[in-house]
Symmetry: C2
Subunit: 211 residues, 2 copies
Amino acid sequence: MQIAIVLYDRFTALDAVGPYETLVRLPGAETVFVAERTGPVRSDTGALALTADRTLEEVPAPGIVVVPGGPGQTAQMENEALLDWLRSADASSTWTTSVCTGSLLLAAAGLLQGRRATSHWLALDVLGRLGAQPTGERVVFDGKYVTAAGVSSGIDMGLTLLGRIAGDEHAQAVQLLTEYDPQPPYDAGSPHKAPAHLVEKFRAESRFTLT
Amino acid sequence: MQIAIVLYDRFTALDAVGPYETLVRLPGAETVFVAERTGPVRSDTGALALTADRTLEEVPAPGIVVVPGGPGQTAQMENEALLDWLRSADASSTWTTSVCTGSLLLAAAGLLQGRRATSHWLALDVLGRLGAQPTGERVVFDGKYVTAAGVSSGIDMGLTLLGRIAGDEHAQAVQLLTEYDPQPPYDAGSPHKAPAHLVEKFRAESRFTLT
């Protein structure tokens, strides 16, 4: 089985690398980073590029599709080459997944109509307007569609999906080897927990406010 | 201030990308991925390459040094070009940091003699034999030296260091924007929590057993 992780200009790196670091350990699977063109693809900060080893066309029928989010997602919402590939890949995929605002791309491709799904907390309203049923959960399964919340949640998504496919023990082994025993220094990782004035500040500044 | 994240053949991607995704949001800092040669550097699985944008020589005096770990660390333990750069960069750095077996490289460069430090749980014994004082903690500060445990712990390290430098509120804002509210599907992320037979299996297979 192929696992295709989609890159596009100004994606968020951890959105892609979190699921990668867990799913790459799925026995018998080949993980491949894909984009419209091969070569380095710059992340949102400009400070990091990941290499796309294959074009979208070269990986037409992956078993698992992973779509990261990031500021660059906005520019992809009308990129028919990418949306066509998502629809086509989804037609034969076993799992179609996203992290952060990657779910907005799945929704734009028409793949999340009426489905329970999630996204970055700042993008949940937009996800709803695109026809999905947003939930506040961190990882959402609806049939073969698996969506994760913002950025770091892709690690939880990858590990959860790994358990579904390869069994709990294999996923626990990967959790142990990646020493995923999180100890955040603050309890501010969701809008329900962070200081209210920070939540309000980011809501006011959000690129999703006017969309 | 420059933040230099060191790449080398067969590093572990999340070791580098976890601290990157948090520290890149340090106000006024420039994050740069460095390696002996510029261009794509393959991670341990072969499925992902990150781009080194600068050579080590081009970034002689970063304010923060970040050294990831990974299976490729072993081959770097006698790479004097890298070790010399680490010593030289450390001479003027404000913070010298590592994730996973990156601490073994700091130790090999002579930077952790007698210091409290950590590493991947499978490498703590080796870290001690290299002259450091290994602890079982996830993120260890000893003066300007900050070491993190295995792979995913670099996120906690990056966020903690960000708080030390830029203040709690800024770090909380970054935690909120990266939605770092971890919900692992299992409680198996440390050798104290994972099923004992998995811990024993990996200890028996470890590349550190005979070193």
